[in-house]
Amino acid sequence: VIDNLHAERTGVNETIQVQLKKGVLELCVLALLSSADGYAYDIASRLAKGVDMGEGTIYPLMRRMQADGLVETYLQESPAGPPRKYYRLTAAGRASFTAQKAEWSAFVSAVNAILGEAQ
């Protein structure tokens, strides 16, 4: 029974973590692209280091964001090898970044306030 409970709890924790990361992944990509245009490999390796995600998931995400009109692509020569596909934010992408960033900050400070009270 204890083993089951334990397994259930790890399951729940894992779900919460996945949900949390999923929610901020798009925000992170928007943030990275807001400071400079980037190509997928670079975005993926920076995100993989920071938030521990599978690198391959960047491609479904970028396709979704492109379909939603948040980013657009262009080709640029790379110093080595074939030209790279770069992503840049559209006006809608910048607007979405501003809105999501504000939402995130409000959420984080609310959670922090509650955590602070608990100590």
């Binding site: 996945v18 990361k21 999923k22 992944l25 190509y39 997928a40 490999y41 993926a44 993989a48 938030v51 521990d52 995600m53 599978g54 690198e55 391959g56 998931t57 491609y59 479904p60 995400l61 396709r63 979704r64 379909a67 080595a80 090898g81 074939p82 790279r84 596909k85």
Partner: protein, 186 residues
């Protein structure tokens, strides 16, 4: 896993998408391997970091299905979107399938009823005057017209409901995309 194994599993998982989409997606992952190699990583390392190609293919297919549904509202794109979302495993099939079947069955029934009402109304409107006495012709034609209008309204509502249902399902599925499970857990 070698680069070749990864790519062939990915392509196998993408089968059924338009050829141009498959080429686009495959190019993205080929470029990823090239970048990894240039950065001094081995094929196996890059493949492991990318994650399970079959799962990535499911996510990409779902994305393509949802996009098609958003661009054109048709029964076939609706079905494609629903199946793509179900394929993600994001929705508990055992719980949802009976509800889904019942709902779509009910919607289909009401829709067929509306179609029959519309046809019946048309028959009354056109054929009625030949079968009733002169005094009732106007009444029977108006009744036919009313029946047609009512049925058309019901049909329109059912169509809107169906679109709303598919949208809700798609929204729910997207919310539960398992985008972030790292490669190792897959």
């Amino acid at each position: 896993m070698t680069r070749q194994e990864f790519m062939s599993r990915l392509r196998a998982g993408l089968a059924g998408l338009p050829a141009t989409a498959i080429v686009d997606i495959a190019d993205d992952y080929e470029a990823h391997f090239n970048e990894g190699q240039a950065a001094g990583r081995s094929e196996a390392e890059v493949a492991a970091a990318l994650g399970d190609p079959a799962r990535l293919a499911r996510e990409l297919r779902a994305e393509a299905g949802l996009k098609a549904w958003q661009e054109t509202r048709s029964p076939s794109t609706a079905a494609a979107a629903v199946f793509a979302v179900l394929g993600l495993g994001a929705i508990d099939l055992i719980i949802l399938l009976p509800i889904l079947m019942a709902l779509s069955g009910a919607l289909f029934g009401v829709f067929m009823g509306a179609a029959a009402g519309f046809a019946g109304g048309a028959v009354l409107l056109v054929g009625g005057p030949f079968f009733v006495s002169a005094g009732h012709i106007l009444a029977v034609m108006l009744a036919g017209l009313g029946l047609m209008a009512g049925s058309a309204a019901v049909g329109a509502v059912v169509t809107l409901l169906t679109i709303a249902m598919v949208n809700a399902l798609v929204w729910y599925g997207r919310l539960h995309f398992r985008l972030l499970k790292p490669a190792i857990e897959a």
